[in-house]
Amino acid sequence: MKTRLLRSFLKPELVRVNISATCKREAILTLLNIVDDAGSLRDRDEAERVVFERERNMSTGLERGVAIPHGKTDSVDNLLVAIATKPDGLDFDSADGQPAKILVLTLSPAGRSGPHIRFMAEISRLLRDDVLRRRVVEAQSADEIVSLLTR
């Protein structure tokens, strides 16, 4: 019941394991590329601007190595989510200072109501579980991550 949103929005083709990015900026650009490559972005520059602006106001690095960069933008029609893992971790300017190992980019349409924060809450609540978080970081394929998060 409590993974309803994850179930409807997670797609394996928007998930990458062990990305090569080494800093926050690169990581976010990688996530945006994942969405853009799938042909889901109307205006990539606009999406990039929104996400980085949100990041400038306050870092979206949560505790325990999870980061949730996000933005509301007209360049998407539906909620889109891209997930990337970085087992070595990268600095995301988190409040607890821990390097981010799981990165979740959420984009949803601006000017329209619908789940956005609710979606991020669902994934972040799930990732509070130490065992699950470790298994996601260690996952070797996109399908494995999706099945871990929607079980």
Binding site: M58, H116, I117, R118, S124, R125
Partner: protein, 578 residues
């Protein structure tokens, strides 16, 4: 019916319709209106009320008085007497109605001169109000929550409806208001007794932070079943009454045919409605303007209302079905939000007009009957709901909380009574009894409830332990540098909850306590001075925390913006130097 009035502050921190008025000056304006407007109206009447423009002028003057008087009375009863606004609005209607002050000061013609106490124009507006009301009641239905608490809710709702209908119908015969249990009068009184109006209960529950208590959710889920069963019974009763009106005596074949037709219409329309609602919702969403979406949806509700009347049922049944169907679509909250101003205006007119139809001169003769009937209605609903609740894990205290929570009757009882009176199926005596029952039950319920709802446990021990395990509540406390920033942040937070399609409800006008709901999400927000406290169940904590975080981020953005602005243009000197 469950339609909780919602208040959200706008950008200026004002509360829709509840800006604290200078009560005395408003009262003075109302008094002046009562005296001046009707005399103008009387002059119009004297000049010959048959012309369209004269009749419209008279209608506008009537509406002017009704709106000002009913709204003031409703506000005063809530604010000063601490009783539900509907009581004040109804009472104001009785006072300014054609049977009392109204005909004396020339606002209305004396009813003895006419067949029906109100002009068709005014009654038409009240009918429109009842359709909007039932449409919103349907739209507001929380089917998701109902399904989660469906067992206890169904038992409680069905128990209350069945016992109320049976006892109401029998009481009509016992008290001599009807001569047989299948006469239209008895059937109508039975139907009038069934419909719970849970809005008042919901308000008390949220004031005491008990909306998500086991008793609270059971009452809210029970109200869903109550609504549905009540509407089905109404459909059947109207059909039966019409058959008997024609035939004069009880013929079971046509009655069964009508019952079948009524149930058929209900089941088919609801099923089709729920099936195609999502598609209809998508079509509505292609209109970029939210106002347009809301108005068209109301148009569709009126359409189904008309069709259901054509099918031999009441118009409100169609309106309710359309609301129920749209309650599941994504844009439901947009529709609700944009129809709310219409609702708030019309509903007061509706209650006031219902009060106006009470024949005060006849009250004396029906007083005793009315009291007896009201007592029976109380016993029927409380027992009918409390006894099933005892089987659903509640102890005596919990069960009585549920029984009294389901007690208030309201708009639907009034609408049904109005339909009966306007179609001539019930007399004005019975109408008076119905109004009295509504007033008594709505008045008694809060008095008892405030005593019952405290911190004692309402569940039996075994259930209570299981619940304690499942639902601990947590608080998040945030202290901001000053009240202004806290207010700004709060309005941001509420906006964000709404953008997430949550339903935000201000618990009491003028106080900064809010309830946020969506499916099984239940979060309470309070601002005291510069401190914002948010409390929620364990499971919603992450959502609440992220919303606060986002609101804080947007606050940072605002501060950044202001700083940039100061650097590039000197706004202050621009303004100060003109």
């Amino acid at each position: 019916m469950d339609y909780v009035r919602r208040q959200v502050p706008d950008k200026h921190g004002m509360y829709n319709g509840h800006v604290r008025p200078r009560s005395w000056s408003i009262l003075a304006v109302v008094m002046v209106m009562i005296v001046l407007v009707p005399s103008a109206g009387a002059a119009q009447l004297g000049a010959g009320a048959s012309g369209v423009s004269e009749r419209m002028t008279h209608l506008m003057l009537q509406l002017a008085v009704i709106l000002c008087v009913a709204k003031t009375a409703g506000y005063a009863s809530e604010r000063f007497l601490r009783i539900p606004a509907v009581l004040g609005e109804l009472a104001s209607g009785v006072i300014i109605g054609p049977y009392a002050l109204g005909s004396v000061i020339g606002l209305f013609e004396h009813p003895e001169l006419t067949e029906f106490p109100l002009s068709p124009e005014l009654y038409g507006i009240a009918t429109l109000a009842s359709i909007v009301l039932l449409y919103l009641a349907g739209l507001e239905t929380d089917l998701g929550m109902f399904l989660r608490y469906s067992v206890a809710g169904s038992l409680v709702g069905a128990g209350g409806v069945i016992l109320s209908f049976v006892l109401g119908d029998l009481a009509a015969v016992w008290t001599g208001l009807a001569n047989s249990v299948v006469s239209p009068a008895a059937l109508f009184l039975g139907t009038i007794s069934t419909a719970t109006s849970v809005g008042i209960t919901a308000r008390i529950l949220s004031e005491r932070n008990k909306l998500d208590s086991p008793e609270g959710v059971t009452v809210l889920a029970g109200a869903v079943i109550d609504d549905v069963l009540g509407i089905v019974i109404l459909a059947a009763v109207i059909g039966m009454a019409r058959v008997m009106e024609r035939g004069g005596n009880v013929e079971w074949l046509p009655i069964l045919a009508v019952l079948g037709k009524a149930l058929g219409f209900w089941v088919i329309c609801t099923a089709v409605g729920l099936l195609i609602a999502r598609r209809l919702g998508k079509i509505l969403e292609t209109f970029r303007s939210r106002q347009t979406m809301a108005s068209i949806s109301l148009g569709l509700a009126l359409l189904l209302a008309g069709l259901s009347e054509k099918a031999g049922l009441a118009m409100i049944i169609g309106a309710y079905i359309m609301g129920l169907s749209f309650s599941r679509v994504d844009c439901a909250h947009v529709l609700r939000r944009h129809l709310e101003p219409v609702y708030h205006t019309l509903v007061s007119v509706f209650f006031c007009v219902m009060g106006m139809m009470v024949d005060v001169n006849a009250l004396q003769s029906i007083l005793l009957v009315g009291i007896v009937f009201s007592l029976i209605a109380i016993v029927a609903k409380v027992l009918g709901c409390a006894v099933p609740a005892m089987f659903a894990g509640f102890n005596l205290l919990g069960a009585s909380r549920i029984g009294f929570g389901m007690l208030p009757r309201g708009e639907v009882a009034l609408i049904v009574a109005g339909i009966g009176l306007s179609t001539g199926l019930i007399t004005s005596d019975i109408f008076g009894v119905a109004i009295m029952m509504t007033l008594v039950t709505t008045g008694v319920a809060p008095l008892v409830m405030v005593r019952l709802y405290d911190d004692r446990e309402g569940l039996r021990q075994r259930w209570a332990a299981a619940r304690r395990e499942a639902g601990r509540r947590r608080s998040i406390c945030l202290t901001l540098p000053n009240v202004e920033i806290a207010e700004f942040l709060l309005s941001n937070v509420l906006e964000m909850f709404e953008a997430e399609e949550c339903y935000v409800h201000q618990v009491f006008p003028g106080e900064t306590l809010f309830q946020v709901r969506k499916d099984d999400i239940s979060i309470t927000l309070r601002r005291e001075g510069a401190t914002i406290t948010l409390s929620c169940g364990d499971i919603d904590c992450e959502f609440a925390r992220l919303v606060l975080l986002e609101a804080l981020a947007s606050l940072v953005k605002v501060f950044e913006g202001v700083r940039e602005f100061e650097q590039t243009t000197d706004l202050r000197s621009q303004l100060q130097l003109g």
